[in-house]
């Protein structure tokens, strides 16, 4: 048998782990004969998923677009707010408690209000995805900026750079590792938000699908929905991870070096 190179290992690792988890799950479901209505086995989910692939994909596409829209708004708003909060201690002090308070509140509570204003469907879902996912971005961007080494800032200050310049040339690049870390959290939350909103107020989307499946007792379909969301989440993550590798290679230099 050939020995695998470290590169191959790290390429295979996620697949192996996924396989392992699926096998465990299947084994548990069968071993303890867990009833389908509680937790279907992966094989059942797979069968259902294949059978209803068409409609699932349709709903999934809708959810994906909704999520991305909400996420995009969240990233922009979050980054801007994070910059404002992170670059001024007074604003930091003023805004943070309010933001934390707001984010401790389950966003589902606002969905009915949003529905009344915007009708059911896409807009509330986008807004929910946005509301739920912008906070991690704010927190991390602000943390990145406020832990900026003053030495690096001084390099720009000594050139007479404006605050905006400093932000653009040092603050933001320095905060990139923080920012990307927050994207990983934010995209998962955006999915949670849009799905949640769809379960409450929509005729389409994976959230609707799951609710409708669960009210007709089709648990494998519910879980198929969950898994489709999970897969979409992973794909989005993979995209960011690539972007991250390009943009923050400098910060991860220790990892790549052959030591």
């Amino acid at each position: 048998m050939k020995k695998l190179s470290p590169k191959t290992i790290s390429r295979l690792a996620p697949w192996l782990l996924t396989l392992f988890v699926l096998v465990c799950w299947e084994a548990i479901c069968r071993g303890f004969s867990i009833p389908t209505y509680l937790m279907p086995a992966p094989s059942q989910i797979y069968t259902t998923g294949i059978e209803l692939a068409g409609p699932i994909m349709e709903h999934a596409t809708h959810t994906l677009l909704t999520t991305l829209a909400g996420f995009a708004v969240a990233v922009v708003v979050g980054a801007v707010l994070g910059m404002i909060v992170g670059s001024s201690p007074v604003i930091y002090k003023a805004v943070y408690p309010m933001l934390v308070g707001f984010n401790s509140v389950p966003k589902v509570a606002f969905v009915p209000v949003l529905v009344v204003w915007f009708g059911i469907g896409t807009v509330p879902a986008i807004l929910t995805a946005f509301l739920i996912s912008f906070f991690p971005v704010v927190v991390n961007v602000a943390a990145g900026l406020s832990t900026l080494e003053p030495e690096l800032e001084d390099v720009l200050r000594s050139l007479g750079a404006s605050r905006l310049d400093i932000l653009r040339k040092v603050g933001l690049p320095r905060s990139m590792p923080f920012f990307f870390a927050s994207l990983k959290v934010a995209i998962t939350l955006a999915f949670v938000g849009s799905v949640m909103s769809e379960t409450v107020a929509s005729n389409v989307g994976v959230g609707y699908l799951m609710m409708s499946a669960s009210s007709s007792m089709n648990m494998p379909l519910v879980f198929a929905g969950l898994i489709v969301i999970g897969i979409m989440g992973v794909i989005m993550y993979e995209l960011f991870a690539r972007l991250e590798r390009r943009l923050t290679g400098w910060a991860n230099r220790g990892q790549n070096a052959a030591h």
């Binding site: 009833p35 209505y37 509680l38 209803l52 068409g54 409609p55 699932i56 009915p112 529905v115 009344v116 204003w117 009708g119 059911i120 469907g121 379960t199 409450v200 107020a201 929509s202 005729n203 609707y208 699908l209 609710m211 409708s212 499946a213 669960s214 009210s215 007709s216 007792m217 089709n218 379909l221």
Partner: protein
């Protein structure tokens, strides 16, 4: 005329008449361009209409009573009583020996706090002469109440009869092993779901409302005559539903709460003044409301189609 309509719940069997009316163009024939959206519970649907976000909706009549009692100046009215009986029921396992209401004393029931059956339970208890406080409640999400019953962790649940029975079957409990106590079978006079309209729409587009009800009535009668066909319109709306299951659900709903003796006598959609008063009083008592709304304010029969059109066998 554009008309936004909200269901109380998802696209399921009982929504068939609405979907049928739209798909077959009955609404269009009345000059209406109707959008039908799924709901996430009676309360939510109710708010949607109350706030004017939706023009009309299909919601629990008792919620309307409660709302009107708390907001006396509201002009919200029910126009067509689709469920002549409330679908609320207590469901227990036969093997637990609970077969009549009195057996519930000292037992634990599971239901969400907003469940119509739970809220109206005092009325049920009163009609059956036991103290409503003698049962213990376990608050749960709708999604797991049947699971808890099937696992024997609670003694009974309240819920819509057709939903709970089907849910129990999916959990491996046959209908024959269940005892289902439909409230109206045990002396409760409550009405079920009605079509309501927002005050603004009612005032501005009375013709549209009338047309809507006419089209709906036609569709409902067709559904009663041929539920199997009607259910296919649900499948058309949402490809993911299980047609057989929804057909059964529709049939159960029609048989138990739509085509009741009273409906057979007086026609679909209508109410009797006598029962209406009792019903409102029951709700007020059960929900512990401070004021009793005027029954005439709550239900407006003026937009109903002619009685002859509403008669069923």
């Amino acid at each position: 005329t554009k008309l936004k309509f909200t269901l109380d719940w998802r696209f399921e069997g009982p929504a068939a008449p609405f979907l049928l009316a739209k798909a077959k163009g009955y609404f269009a024939a009345e000059g209406l361009d109707v959008t039908i959206d799924a709901g996430a519970g009676s309360a939510g649907a109710f708010t949607r209409v109350a706030t004017g976000a939706y023009d009309m909706g299909f919601t629990d009549f008792n919620a309307l009573v409660e709302y009107d009692a708390k907001n006396p100046e509201s002009k919200l009215q029910a126009l067509y009583m689709v469920y002549n009986y409330t679908p609320a029921a207590v469901v227990t396992l036969k093997k637990s020996g609970i077969t009549k209401p009195a057996d519930l004393v000292g037992k634990t029931l599971a239901a969400p706090v907003f469940d119509a059956g739970r809220k109206a339970f005092p009325a049920f208890a009163k009609s059956n002469k036991f103290d409503p406080a003698s049962v213990k409640w376990q608050t749960v999400d709708p999604a797991i109440r049947e699971t808890l019953l099937a696992k024997g962790e609670v003694d009974g649940i309240t819920g819509f009869s057709f939903t709970s029975v089907l849910n129990m079957e999916a959990r491996g409990v046959k209908e024959s092993d269940l005892s289902v106590m439909l409230y109206n079978d045990y002396g409760v006079e409550l009405y079920g779901n009605a079509i309501i309209a927002s005050p603004k729409f009612l005032a501005e587009k009375p013709k549209a409302v009338e047309g809507f009800l006419r089209a709906f009535n036609k569709a409902l009668k067709e559904s009663i005559a041929n539920p199997d066909e009607a259910a296919t319109y649900v499948k058309k709306q949402d490809a993911l539903v299980d047609l057989a299951l929804e057909t059964r659900r529709l049939k159960m709903a029609l048989n138990s709460v739509v085509v009741t003796p009273e409906a057979k006598a007086n026609g679909l959609g209508s109410v009797t003044e006598e029962r209406m008063r009792k019903s409102v009083a029951e709700t007020v008592a059960a929900y512990d409301l401070k004021t009793t709304p005027d029954a005439k304010e709550l239900f407006n029969p003026a937009f109903l189609p002619a009685k002859a059109e509403r008669m069923v066998k």
